[in-house]
């Protein structure tokens, strides 16, 4: 019997569970950031496994920009109720009152409604560790991200000042006011995530599966008209198309792809034949060179 008898997925699973338990054991007030996406669901699934037969001893936190797909919110409420988990929902109320929206405020919108809102919520609840579902394979700037990512008291990330991580020994010592972001899925790839969802039959938001949805063409992507707040440009006419989403976020900023995949194996099939990386669907990445690195320095995931 050797390591080889534990498949790569089970090794990844064991590593992630180890990380989640380690954080719970060493931090006073952890929270799990719940974006409602597939990675979040895998992370939550691993947390359920980590503390079974108990429940994960931390709440979930969802930063609601108020522009998420309706189906995401419905799914969030259903799954947290079904699992009996506490889920804090936080919105940057001031910005909402000021009318900050993805149409008029471009890149600043994400800063204000996601990054700032997340910092507000973390500071308000005084969480000292926040689990996030980010993976290193998502984007080049994440290849060097640690599993424990340190943030100073103002939630800033300094790429030059991250701690070396050796073996399975994570250094969880922080000063008062400081916090960490923890990425238990660091070593998972997109294919691993789908494979695991398939293997474990993990529920995910139906938006990942293809369905007839009302979309418009905009800047080379398909944007779904999820509600009446969608501002149509001149000449834009919503049309019903079989589409699905590879990543989920705020609907006016998330591109759909033409697809007929209605099951996980079909999604994997599409993925294997796909020629563009997952983040292509995210409009925010294209704002500027090294966009993610900048966002990360500022406290966005």
């Amino acid at each position: 019997m050797t390591n080889a008898s534990l498949t790569h997925l089970r090794q990844l699973e064991a590593e992630s569970i180890h990380i989640i338990r380690e954080v719970v054991a060493e931090f006073e007030k952890p929270v799990m950031l719940f974006s409602i996406g597939k990675d979040s669901m895998v992370m939550l699934w691993l947390a359920l496994k980590a503390f079974y037969p108990g429940k994960p001893p931390f709440p979930l936190l969802h930063v609601d920009t108020t522009w998420k797909f309706k189906e995401m919110i419905r799914f969030r409420d259903e799954i947290t109720k079904k699992l009996g988990l506490e889920c804090f929902v936080h919105t940057n109320q001031e910005a909402k009152k000021a009318g900050i929206n993805p149409f008029d405020h471009g890149g600043r919108y994400t800063d204000i409604m996601k990054t700032d809102a997340l910092k507000q919520a973390l500071s308000h609840h005084q969480f000292d560790a926040a689990f996030g579902g980010a993976r290193r394979d998502e984007e080049r700037s994440r290849a060097k991200e640690r599993v424990y990512s340190f943030r100073d008291a103002s939630h800033q990330w300094d790429p030059k000042n991250q701690r070396p991580e050796l073996w399975r020994l994570y250094n969880g010592r922080i000063a008062k006011g400081e916090s960490i972001r923890v990425f238990p899925l660091s070593n998972w790839t997109e294919l691993d995530v789908w494979q695991y969802i398939h293997l474990e039959n993990i529920p995910i938001v139906p938006l990942y599966y293809a369905k007839e949805r009302p979309v418009v063409h905009r800047d080379g992507t398909l944007i779904m008209v999820d509600d009446e707040r969608m501002r149509l440009k001149e000449g834009e006419e919503p049309e019903m198309r079989m589409v699905r989403f590879r990543t989920l976020g705020c609907y006016p900023l998330t591109g759909a792809i033409d697809s007929s995949a209605t099951t996980v194996p079909e999604i994997v099939h599409e993925m294997l034949t796909a020629t563009t990386s997952e983040r292509q669907g995210r409009v925010i990445d294209r704002d500027e060179e090294a966009a993610m690195e900048k966002k990360k320095r500022e406290g966005y995931f």
Binding site: Q11, N187, H269
Partner: protein
Amino acid sequence: MAELSMDQILAFLDRHEKKGLLRFVTIGSVDDGKSTLIGRLLYESGGVFDDQVAAVTSKNAEGKEEINFANLTDGLQAEREQGITIDVAYRYSSTEKRKFIIADTPGHVQYTRNMATGASTADAAVILIDARLGVLQQSRRHAYIANLLGIPHLLVAVNKMDLVDYGEAEFNAIRDEFQSFCDKLDFDAVSFFPVSALEGDNIVKRSERTSWWDGRPLLAHLEELEVRGSAEAQLVYPIQHVIRPDLDFRGYAGTLAAGTVRPGDEVKVLPSGKTSKVERIVTYDGDLEQAFAPMSVVLTLEDEIDISRGDVITTVENDLHISRKIDATVVWMAEQRLEPGRQYMIKHTTNLVSGAFTEVHSRVDMDTLEDQPAETLALNDVGHVTLSLNRPLVLDTYRANHVAGSFIVIDRLSNVTVGAGMIRSHGEDYQADSATVARGLTPTERAARFGQKPCVVWMTGRSGVGKIVVARALERRLFDAGHAPYVLDAARTPSIDRHAQGEAFGPLVEHAAVLLEAGLLTVVTFTSPRREDRAKARELLGADARFLEVAFDAELATCRARLQALGRDPAEAEQAYESSVDPDLVIDGDELNIEREVDRLVRVLENVGAIGI
């Protein structure tokens, strides 16, 4: 792949699900073509999307489209600006047979820290050697560090073969020279590959241009090489977290560091040494018949034993050690040097303890790879040290078990990880030492902590003769020199008469005895008027400590005047007093030069060995 049927997809998922995992580290500098090699591996194994390739494709001088493989793997903005790789980057690729986690580490001299980090979790190391330059000192250093971190498989990619016309002689010369160096190290296997990362030779497919070579290409070797599992080793299960959802369930969550466990197995909990039987292996997916490393599970035991985070469940007969003293090889990772004697935090398995480096034995000269005498370690140094911990750890050598044999060193003030350690051996077992523990601390042990030996300076003489001023000055002098003195005078012990004698003298001696027991350099300034009492004190205290009688002598008028100045009754000086017969030191209270008298007292303390010279 677009024509795949659903059956083929399901078959693919099934195969992918059953794949094994190999973690390897790539070591080499930018000039060796390491980024190009990894870019090539990712590209050829389908780990790169078109948009990513497009982003790094440009027209070359002849107007031909060319993929810059090195740019596929570049990371942070800061590093792109500097044009060097400054940190460990993790890449992922997958073939039909295996998933790979690649730790990409820079190979410059100053980046031992990054290499050690990347190597710590690796099953194999790929080292690049530039075929034109041959074996450099840097190549030896890379192999040395890979070996230090216990990596079993070394793969040597002799790169840029295209620039030496794929010459067999060039390749063989490098192979023979490097193989003979590696023979001195401890790898399970060392293999060599003539490659060109730029041209793709022998990376994924065997190259026609090296027909003289009959090996497998690099990727095929990575797919096939055998990973040494630890499931057959003895059970090592460090407890991470106790799970108690309700009063009926008490489970111990952890990740198996080594070995296999089954319900019914007899186990021992360390460091307590209590034994029990495994009742259940609990998981979300149902109870298991067995669990093996590196699975994360929850165990329940048949008996109610007090177990908490940091304890280790192992077999009844085991080779683990419980010790407060470890000899280790440490890689220093911080700008601030290692400070012997200073307290650091040590994280080992799921334990966090404090401790100090009591000794730095040597550091490795990274040019000669030989040990040199050293007193400290600086950034990127590797050295041999002894650590003394404030509480014992359940440990093993790094060679026997990477989990139970490794630790990180954390700075208590900055909280930064400043070092990484691999246990070579350990001090005496804590259990074997239990007799010492039961006895408690001795005065000698306590005094040694303060750099002194148990000693009492018994000052005697009439009131007003000057004992207290001299005693206070001595106390200050000793304290400032790092010792632990204490002056026992009437002001500090109001319950004892300052002229106590006979029966009342007993409690004074008892007080002094407690201070000696605490390991303090004890100075007594009571009058002690009777010779017989002083002799009794010497007899009682002198058995376990040095006893110095210091006689103060002065004219009555001097004593009266001094008492008057202190606002005390001058008549006290005239109480009956029996002068000393054979004191260890006499101090003249008439011509009192405090500094000089303290010098004399210190000299006497040194002479009797109470304090070091």
